[in-house]
């Protein structure tokens, strides 16, 4: 590759030699330091060889001495290109300017990629990098990769490992997050709490770890009833309250409760369908400037616009701050459709399934469900009740009671 580049820069000629002393001519060339390459002999005895352009004028005495004739078969290399395009100064200048521009841009970061994040959003990381002064256009040498890795680990509690490196003009921030974040509890803020029922329910099971349980399995409770009390009475010898001991109630209490479900589906719905007509416009964005091709068509009454943006990238992750894209506007036809009972059932079932899956994701176990659908004036009404088993506890501060004053001794 380097040899090819040297030959290209110096310029070279492919020669055809013929005569009786071609070998002698080549030997004389070699002895005078004229490098030759790609020597081959044709079936008719002609010799083909390549030499540097600068050596061509040194051949004359050797040609005379050996009586070898030559013909230039091909000229190649930069000197010939310059000569060919000598009148196209603007083109050459533009080419040179482009090369300088690309060389300059290659020293900067034009794309930032965040990998491995799930809990922390990409925007949050980019914003953080911006605060650190790392944004698009920063010099590659200005980024302290080790320092940035350390600060990412320190400033984001979720991040347990970070790696920052450059790939071409792209900055890659690769992070590893904790598998499960510890749930924040407000127990420490309010040390004395009760567990109360957040809904009417029948207790299914109760496992108490702290506090005094006031209910047992199969008890019926109403919303707001205290289930586990964080206040414990300490009695004296007479069985009277001497003082109170406060702690945070802690228990797993499952209760069977009833949830009501209701949904409405309109008898009519607006359906949009593409008509098949679309208009394309193209844009070029560079350093905050955006050039869009003019709008040559009238507006659609109803349309959907999709914009696709691509960042210009040379091979080898060499991203440039140039974005090209297409804006496609597709005409949409709106139709009002009557919804049949079958369609409504299908849609209702879909909504209901989503509702159930949301409940199950929150740890609610479905015991029984009963849902009906009926047609009303303007819509279909879906309603029903679900019997579920769920955690019914809610944490509230414990009522603080004054400790009773000690009674005077009767004998006194």
């Amino acid at each position: 590759m380097i040899l090819w580049l040297v030959r290209f820069m110096r310029g070279f000629l492919e020669l055809k030699l013929w005569g009786r002393n071609c070998e002698r001519f080549l030997n004389l060339c070699a002895n005078r330091g004229i490098a030759t390459w790609r020597l081959s002999v044709s079936e008719t005895g002609e010799v083909f060889a390549s030499i540097y352009l600068s050596d061509f004028y040194r051949l004359r005495p050797l040609l005379r001495k050996t009586r070898v004739r030559l013909r230039i078969e091909k000229r190649a290399g930069l000197p010939f290109l310059v000569h060919r395009y000598r009148k196209r100064v603007v083109f050459a200048g533009t080419l040179l300017a482009m090369m300088v521009c690309v060389a300059f841009l290659s020293t900067r970061i034009w794309r930032i990629e965040v990998l491995g994040n799930s809990a922390i959003g990409e925007d949050a990381v980019l914003e953080y990098l911006k605060q650190k002064g790392i944004t698009y256009g920063i010099g590659r040498d200005d980024i302290d990769n080790d320092g940035l890795e350390l600060s990412l680990r320190q400033d984001f509690d979720q991040v347990i490992w970070a790696s920052v490196y450059e790939k071409g003009t792209k900055l890659v921030v690769r992070i590893q997050e904790k598998l499960a974040a510890e749930k924040e509890t407000n127990v420490s803020q309010t040390p004395c709490t009760d567990l109360v029922a957040k809904t009417d329910a029948v207790i299914y099971s109760i496992v108490t770890r702290g506090g005094i349980p006031l209910v047992k399995a199969e008890d019926t409770v109403k919303a707001g009833d205290i289930l586990v009390c964080g206040r414990q009475e300490i009695l004296d010898d007479n069985g009277e309250v001497k003082e109170y001991y406060y702690q945070s109630a802690d228990a797993d209490i499952l209760g069977i409760s009833t949830l009501s479900y209701t949904d409405r589906i309109s008898l009519q719905r607006v359906v949009t369908k593409p008509s098949g007509k679309s208009h394309d416009r193209y844009f070029l964005r560079f350093m905050g400037y955006r050039f869009t091709t003019p709008k040559l068509y009238g507006d659609f009454d109803c349309s959907e616009t999709i914009e696709e943006t691509n960042q210009l990238c040379l091979p080898g992750s060499f991203y440039l701050p140039v974005y090209v894209g297409r804006i496609r506007e597709t005409e949409q036809l709106q139709q009002i459709e009557q919804v049949t009972m079958e369609q409504a059932k299908e849609e209702a079932l879909s909504h209901f399934s989503r509702f159930l899956s949301d409940l199950e994701e929150n740890g609610v176990r479905i015991i029984d469900k009963n849902v009906m659908i009926e047609k009303e004036k303007d819509n279909y009404h879906i309603y029903g009740r679900l019997k579920v088993c769920e955690d019914i506890t809610e944490r509230v501060p414990t009522e603080i009671k004054e400790a009773p004053a000690p009674k005077e001794n009767e004998e006194e």
């Binding site: 080549l26 070699a30 002895n31 030759t36 390459w37 020597l39």
Partner: protein, 80 residues
Amino acid sequence: MEQLGLPRDLFLGMPVLSLQGNRFLCIENHRGILQAGREKIVVAAKPWGIEVAGRELSIVRFTKDYMEITGYLEHISFLL
């Protein structure tokens, strides 16, 4: 020379041949080309010439004391 451990190619001017399979031959310390053809290349060397026979032979690089021959090499012999 052997007892002194001196390289023969430097002190006696003997050619050094490097062969890669039957496709590439590199000759150092040569004294020029005696004959060049598609099927035979004869190279001058000290003390004997070297004859390379084969098919589609060509000299890809040729300088004062170094040359590379490519092609399908079939036979290499010394012209004693």
